[in-house]
């Protein structure tokens, strides 16, 4: 590989990670244009077994975050593999969703994995296929601190 193609490979990897990060921050800011900007228009996604076809259907599902007082989608491990103008990425995330349960605040969280296929379109990486699985979930009451 020439130096410039090695630089391009690194730049692709960084750009792909940025797309996934943009998706999560879009969710947490409830900026659904930002969420939509991460996908091809004909994206096919499977969220916990539910198949969503097209970017509008996918964005509609993500609007569900509006029911929570606060959400954080926290990114961890990522593995990216680039092949020319396509790429695959696996990303770990945990979500933290502040809910009301029987009149008390609680945090719902999930251990999530995202498997993405991406394509380069007009110089921009976009997610064209996605499968999201939830590995575990839990609900924790929000207890007052030592100082109340």
């Amino acid at each position: 590989m020439t130096d410039s193609s090695r630089v391009r490979a690194l730049a692709d990897r960084a750009a792909i990670q940025d797309v996934v990060a943009r998706y999560f921050t879009g969710l947490d800011r409830q900026d659904f244009d930002r969420v939509a900007s991460c996908f091809t228009s004909d994206v096919v996604a499977e969220y916990r077994g539910r198949v969503l076809e097209g970017v509008d259907a996918l964005v509609d599902i993500t609007r569900g975050v509006r029911r929570y007082a606060v959400t954080t989608h926290f990114m961890g491990n990522y593995l990216v593999e680039v092949r020319g103008d396509t790429a695959t990425a696996e990303t770990y995330a945990t979500d933290h969703l502040r809910i009301m349960q029987s009149g008390e605040e609680a945090d719902m969280s999930h251990g999530l994995r995202y498997y993405d296929e991406l394509v380069r379109k007009d110089g921009q990486w976009l997610i064209s296929r996605r499968a999201m699985t939830s590995e575990w979930s839990r609900v924790d009451p929000v207890a007052p601190g030592p100082g109340g």
Partner: protein, 309 residues
């Protein structure tokens, strides 16, 4: 600054160095190494921690020293977005802070969802934090049920590397390859792909898993395959710093480990804050882990109330 002739490469180098500054900062405050934390700031930096403003690095560090009152802290870094403009940059970093408070009769974990908004500047050829705003998005206080085998306590990690003055393309590629090696290790372990897991080690690797020493790949495989007893496991990777010297490297990685175990209806999550202190070697052009110490800084046992589906 080692100005790269390729502007794309220069941007990648700048972003990697900036990211490492934020990681060194987190490592500094978690280790109570306030010289390390201070080295991440410009001397005339300004910081705003939850609305409390400090001016100058000395005042900032004085504020950070409040963390010494806690038994243990882990500032675990996640999503990061860097907006680069020549010699300045805006950085947004997600962090989850785990603060363990030990009281005579009980222990509490204060867990906070934070966002760091850092204005960075290149000064004298290196990136430093010029202005910092820390925003709290959520926080929660969890009573701690200790693990049946409590963590042995914090072990110091290696001295964190400084960004090498001559960092270039090869350095970035090695840094990325070592991160991939780690992500592959956690992913294969969580998927119970023990062949894939074993392929991340040298055959003669030595690993301290908490208090147990495993020598050689078969002993390691036996140890890691204990994950078969879990319902599910997640090894969630955060902060990572690596010191690369030719064909060897030393790295430190933060990991939150979630192990779900127990009979149906009575599941428990064993949650631990781990650090992986690793030695890697390059063999036939591939990076492999040759020695590893897994240290547990904190742990807790959480009975599971599953989320409604």
């Amino acid at each position: 600054m080692s100005a790269a002739s390729d502007p794309v490469l220069q941007e990648l180098l700048d972003k990697a160095e900036i990211s490492d500054v934020i990681t060194r900062y987190a490592l500094g405050i978690d280790r109570h190494d306030f010289d390390l934390a201070a080295s991440c700031y410009a001397t005339d930096a300004q910081a705003d921690f939850y609305g409390v403003v400090s001016k100058g690095v000395d005042a900032i560090v004085k504020g950070l020293r409040l963390l010494e009152q806690l038994d243990n802290t882990m500032h675990f870094l996640g999503n990061q977005m860097i907006d680069l403009h020549g010699d300045t940059a805006g950085v947004e970093t997600y962090a989850t802070a785990y603060y363990r408070a030990v009281m005579p009769d009980r222990q509490i974990d204060m867990i906070k969802g934070l966002r760091y908004l850092d204005g960075m500047a290149r000064k004298d050829g290196r990136w430093v934090v010029q202005s910092q705003v820390v925003v709290e998005h959520w926080s929660r206080n969890d009573p701690v049920l200790p693990l049946s085998t409590p963590p042995a306590g914090r072990k110091p990690g290696p001295k964190p590397p400084v960004w090498p003055k001559d960092a270039g393309l090869d350095y970035l590629i090695d840094r990325a390859a070592i991160r991939d090696l780690l992500a592959r290790y956690y992913s294969t372990s969580d998927h119970r792909d023990y062949d894939g897991m074993a392929a991340t080690y040298t055959p003669d690797a030595e690993v301290w898993y908490r208090e147990d020493l495993c020598v050689g790949i078969e002993a390691i495989r036996k140890k890691v395959s204990l994950l078969d007893n879990a319902i599910t496991s997640t090894h969630f990777m955060g902060n990572h710093l690596v010191d690369i010297q030719g064909d060897t490297a030393a790295s430190e990685t933060y990991v939150i480990e979630y192990i779900r175990a127990g009979p149906v209806g009575e599941e428990t999550d064993l949650v631990s804050g781990l650090r992986y202190l690793d030695q890697m070697v390059r063999r036939d052009g591939k990076w492999l882990t040759s020695a590893r110490t897994v240290t547990s800084d904190w742990g807790r046992r959480d009975p599971v109330t599953p989320a409604p589906t």
